[in-house]
Amino acid sequence: MATAVTPPPKAPATSETPQAPARRRRTGVAPRRLPYLLIAPAALLMLGFIAYPVLSVFYYSLQHYNPTKPWRNGFAGFDNFTRIFTDDPHFWGTLTFSLKWVAVEVTLQLLFGLALALIVNQTFVGRAVGRALVFSPWAVSGVLTSAIWVLLYNSQTGITRYLADMGLGEYGTSWLSDTSTVFSAVVVADLWRGVPFFAILILADLQSVPKDLYEAAEVDGAGRIRQFAHITLPHLKDAIILSTLLRAVWEFNNVDLLYTLTGGGPAGETTTLPLYIANTSVDAHNFGYASALTTVAFVILLFCSMVYLRLSKFGGESK
């Protein structure tokens, strides 16, 4: 795979064919400069629209900055940070909810996704259609997911009404506005969309398990469960670690679904840290404080990712 990463041969190397070097020079770019030229557009875009905003977040985190209260703007030192940890009624609550949300979602999505991938990796009649149908919610947006589950959870015409018709539950239950049911309700909605992500990635990786390993295991008399534990799972390890990490970061950061489905309610019950930050900066215009919160979220995210990669020994034994 990495064999191709050799520097381009210099002109003398192919001097047996007199035409080639002359032609290549016509492109007008020395091979030495070419790679920089090629990554330039991407690098510039990322510098301008990722790196610069990140730096400005760090800068503003040390400022009092609120466009609606300009008389208070100015250098703040660590005021914003002390306020977060000592004097913010929402920070710890939203952080705890974020961690709970990420842990529950990623665990369940991984388990269901793994099971699903193993099932649709079998050969059976209708496999292509089965795969397409099972994977389809992957392509559905957070907002559309919200719209769908708003319809399903609606107290008047939602699924509860039909369940009540069949004698299950009560009429007029609204799972989204009841603090005792709202968590499971949003978890299920997000699972519906999130499981296919894992299923697709794991299925892709399953294709690359060498088939003769299973044949050898078979000869040695290993059953399907032992084949799974000793061949499939070790092979999938790196893919699982990487996809859970990416997904955890994504679930932590993504606010589409919760913003549109519950708006963080009822009573702030489903407000994640990023949602709280968005509300602080967008609705309350408190950019300085929101930037400090963002910085804290960054650090937490990076720290957790490092710990996770270290604990899981990513890329360790298999290479």
């Binding site: 907002v143 015409t157 084949q227």
Partner: protein, 308 residues
């Protein structure tokens, strides 16, 4: 299979069952093949169909629900989509301006697809084929950018676009979507390019191709599945993405489908029929794209994407 075998060898039998019985010699060849099937990919059928069926219910009922609400008349509580009406669609498409939203979303999606693919292709080629001094650092930056939440950069991004006087222009959303798609797309594409042997390109140079011509003629056709995966990824993402459009596009004629859907949900008394119809409109293009690329998606990912 059996019926086909019979028609070639046995004379036209009156009944199919009799025909199958009457031709035992033709059925012997497939038998050893069946024996050779390996048990590891032979789970009992019910262990496949039962969990798959249950999961399909979970997947499909929500889809059915939204289609049902979109086509049945207001006030109906029937669980079957009959009698059908297009009233909700007409209302959403014209009154709620989904026609405009649809155009905007499509424009943003296609533009993001093109810019992301082109820029990522250039960068991915550099990463796959050259060793250069800042390569390691650049790769690290790509990976780190995965941790940067776009949602948390809304305010500084807003300020940047305000300085460029690009607020309320589709360009701002296209740039923002492209930027956040780029890192992953580039990593994926460089993985695909690495899978194309360098010697193929070198052979084309020897034949007198310039580097670019060699890339276009030799490498590009081989990258097709990968590019389809990356491009559709970019399209689907930007079609679905909500926050950038919500923040950067203020006037109604510039807004996108997800923003329109959110407005429908946020209304004081939600018009469920309109919401469902809007949802179906939002889902259609993505579902169609997805149906086409679904197969390529899995092969595209397995072609060395994660392994790099």
């Amino acid at each position: 299979m059996i019926a086909q075998d019979d028609t070639t060898t046995a004379p036209p039998a009156p009944a199919t069952a009799a025909g199958a019985d009457a031709a035992p010699p033709t059925r012997t060849p497939p038998a050893p093949r069946r024996k050779r099937r390996r048990a590891w990919d032979e789970a009992p059928r019910w262990q496949i169909y039962l969990p798959l069926g249950i999961y399909l219910l979970f997947t499909l009922i929500p889809f059915y629900w939204i289609v049902l609400f979109a086509v049945r008349p207001a006030g109906s509580t029937s669980l079957l989509p009959w009698p059908m009406t297009t009233a909700h669609f007409e209302k959403v498409w014209t009154e709620r301006a989904f026609a405009t939203f649809f155009q905007n979303s499509l424009l943003i999606g296609l533009a993001t697809l093109v810019t992301t693919t082109v820029v990522a292709l250039a960068g991915g080629y550099a990463l796959a084929r050259f060793d250069f001094r800042i390569k390691k650092g650049f790769m690290l930056a790509l990976l780190c950018s995965q941790f940067v939440p776009g949602a948390l950069l809304l305010v500084p991004l807003f300020q940047i676009f305000a300085n460029l006087s690009m607020i309320n222009s589709l360009g701002s959303v296209i740039i923002a979507e492209t930027v956040f798609q780029l890192p992953l797309s580039m990593i994926l594409i460089s993985g695909f390019i690495k899978n194309v042997p360098y010697s193929l390109e070198e052979a084309a140079w020897v034949d007198g191709c310039s580097r670019f011509a060699a890339f276009r003629i030799v490498v590009l056709p081989l990258l097709r599945p990968g590019l389809v995966a990356v491009g559709s990824f970019a399209f689907v993402h930007s079609w679905n993405h909500f926050l950038f459009a919500l923040m950067f596009l203020s006037s109604q004629e510039k807004q996108t489908i997800p923003v329109g859907l959110n407005t429908l949900m946020g209304a004081d008394s939600v018009d469920l029929g309109a919401l469902a119809a809007g949802g179906v409109i939002a889902a259609l293009p993505v579902v169609i794209v997805f149906a086409f690329i679904q197969k390529w998606l899995v092969t595209g990912f397995s072609a060395g994407a994660v392994k790099g």
